[in-house]
């Protein structure tokens, strides 16, 4: 355990050193993560204003303040669970810069996960003031209660780890095709819809909502947000957590299989 703490600590230090080195780029990426939910919020606000009333679907109703609450929480939760490794990893496989990492007695996922955590810790701290300003200006209703946020915490952690594992499994496809970016882009579009990033799942057509709930996307996105906003009953939350754990376990199995087969394919291009 102490070994792993030291591994993550030393990689966090390097991650922060790199982020300080490229502070402007770090900030831009952080803002990029925040802008998505903000655009969705603007669209839905315009829609509710045009209708003059809220939007209902599958037993749930969202008015302007509900949308504000949903997307403001999604802004933070989405940022805390985001993962971009598939893009980075494909580059490393393509250029052969993965080779030195494979020669170390440490799986590359640990260095990358440390970087991911370091990025989120730093950028969340940087963006929090802007988020608080939006919170005050947009009057989200109901604002998330402490109790609900505490309840959402385990779901949020599971969402982050699950998303990370599935992204890394996807990244490992780069062992077969060096142009994995197209697959990543498809995944990103699916994720945007099915995780509830563009619209709350309840407002989606029934079939799309079901698809979201029976895939890992809902658990990796909207589920912790809905818990924090008190939109999920306790039994449904418990069921959701079980579903998250299932998808995490499935992700670990898929990742291990893909990785094991992938490294056998690795041709260490140019390295």
């Amino acid at each position: 355990m102490r070994y792993w703490l030291r591994v993550y600590r030393v990689h966090l230090r390097v991650a922060w050193a790199l982020m300080m080195q490229y502070r402007f780029s770090t900030l831009i990426w952080a803002v990029w993560g925040f802008v998505g939910p903000l655009i969705s919020l603007a669209v839905w606000t315009a829609a509710t204003q045009a209708r003059g009333s809220g939007v209902s679907g599958n037993g749930q109703r969202f008015d302007q303040a509900d949308f504000a609450a949903y997307f403001l929480v999604f802004m933070i939760f989405g940022h805390l669970t985001m993962s971009w490794d598939a893009f980075e990893f494909a580059y490393r496989v393509r250029t052969g810069s993965l080779s030195p990492q494979l020669l170390r007695p440490l799986h590359p996922i640990h260095a990358d996960a440390s970087f991911n955590v370091g990025f989120k810790a730093l950028t969340t701290a940087l963006l929090l003031p802007a988020w608080l300003v939006l919170f005050v200006v947009l009057h989200p209703a109901p604002p998330p209660s402490y109790a609900n946020v505490a309840l959402a915490a385990p779901a949020l952690v599971l969402a982050g780890i699950t998303r990370y594992i599935w992204q890394y499994a996807l990244a490992a496809i780069a062992f077969w095709t060096t142009r994995v970016d197209a697959i990543n882009q498809l995944y990103y579009v699916l994720d945007s819809f099915l995780a509830g990033r563009i619209a709350p799942i309840a407002l989606m057509p029934l079939w799309l909502g079901l698809l979201a709930r029976y895939t890992p996307f809902y658990g990796m996105g909207a589920f912790p947000v809905e818990i924090a906003l008190g939109r999920v009953s306790l039994p449904a939350a418990a069921l959701g957590l079980i579903s998250q754990m299932f998808w995490l376990a499935a992700g670990i199995v898929v990742f291990r299989l893909v990785w094991a087969a992938g490294v056998k394919q690795y041709s260490a291009v140019g390295a």
Partner: protein, 337 residues
């Protein structure tokens, strides 16, 4: 060779490469009917390396040297064949194996480009679980041997190629690997730095008893460090034995360079051997190895000689001949060593 630390048995690596003719038509056709070609990068290579040996791995570009080193370090899975390094199958990449080896590639860096080398060293200390005392003493030793002092605090991207290579070597050796694979470690660095890296590798081998397998296009690296060489061409092993024996087999003659007191025509000097070069009083003669002593004796007895040296042909000439396909002469008992 029972005490072999590195052993390969019939190791093969075949890459499947997509190929098509140039032009739009063939690119469309390749959508429907992709054609592949099997490129046999390494073919049935077998050899062993003992603990503490330094072995030069020679071959032209595309010979299969780097592919072999990548398989031995666990980066690549072979198509067939077996290999053991320190008793481990490399491509299983067990952590216990990876803790005891290093692969240094002259064209690839493991150091993080944007931060000082020392930060990467500290990461390696944690990853390889090197105790603080051992880390400090190894680092001090490496700093002294490689003269790294001023380089450790500069971002790696600000270092010259030679400086970067020295830091790469240090990073690769902090955990004191028992087996060191060096792939073109002096690539692109100047002559002075090449010499320094050679001395360092030799010293590291002497101090730690590490086994070193080295590839280089610079024959000076190989002649300075390795008594034994393995020659590989088109993926196949051509020769495994001592460097001097390779020269003897490929070029069974020696060169006599003499500085005569007075100039003489080439046809007069030809009685001592083949005149390969004549420049005033300086002459270079090529004589069969077995007749070298006789030729030198006659020359000294019959001519006024100011200076005389007897040399083996340059190893570059030997290697050129091997790679040009004149390989029949080197397939002998050493091949099976």
């Amino acid at each position: 060779m029972s005490d072999a630390l590195v052993s390969l048995d019939g190791l093969c690596k075949t890459y499947r490469v997509h190929e098509r003719k140039a032009g739009f038509g063939s690119s469309v056709a390749s959508l429907f009917r992709r054609q592949y070609k099997d490129v046999r990068a390494v073919r049935d290579v077998t050899f062993q390396v003992r603990a503490g040996e330094m072995v030069g791995f020679l071959g032209p570009n595309g010979a299969g040297k780097t592919t072999t080193l990548k398989m031995l370090s666990g980066l690549l899975n072979p198509t067939s064949g077996e290999a053991k390094v320190l008793g481990f199958t490399p491509w299983r990449r067990q952590h216990e194996f990876l803790r005891q080896i290093s692969l240094v590639m002259g064209n690839r860096n493991q150091l993080n480009w944007d931060i000082p080398a020392m930060d990467s060293f500290l990461v390696n200390q944690v990853i390889y679980d090197i105790p603080q005392e051992q880390f400090r003493s190894t680092l001090d030793e490496l700093v002294q041997l490689l003269d790294l002092g001023a380089l450790l605090t500069k971002p790696v991207r600000n270092l010259s190629l030679g400086e970067r290579m020295k830091c790469e070597l240090a990073a690769a050796l902090l955990h004191r690997p028992r087996v060191l694979f060096l792939d073109e470690p002096t690539l692109g660095v100047d002559v002075t730095m090449q010499g320094r890296i050679r001395r360092f590798v030799s010293e590291y081998n002497r101090l730690t008893g590490a086994t070193v397998l080295l590839t280089s296009h610079y024959m000076a690296d190989v002649t300075a460090l390795c008594r034994r060489v393995i020659v590989i061409h088109h993926g196949s092993l051509l020769y495994d034995g001592s460097l001097s024996a390779l020269g003897e087999r490929i070029l069974p003659h020696k060169l006599i360079r003499a500085d005569l007191e007075s100039a003489a025509p080439a046809d007069e000097l030809a009685i001592y051997g083949d005149v390969t070069d004549l420049d005033g009083q300086k002459v270079t003669l090529r004589v069969p190895r077995a007749l070298t002593a006789v030729a030198v004796g006659r020359l000294l007895a019959e001519r006024s000689v100011v200076d005389l040296t007897v040399e083996d042909p340059p190893i570059e000439e030997v290697i050129d001949l091997v790679f040009e396909g004149e390989t029949a002469a080197i397939t002998g008992p050493d091949r099976a060593e």
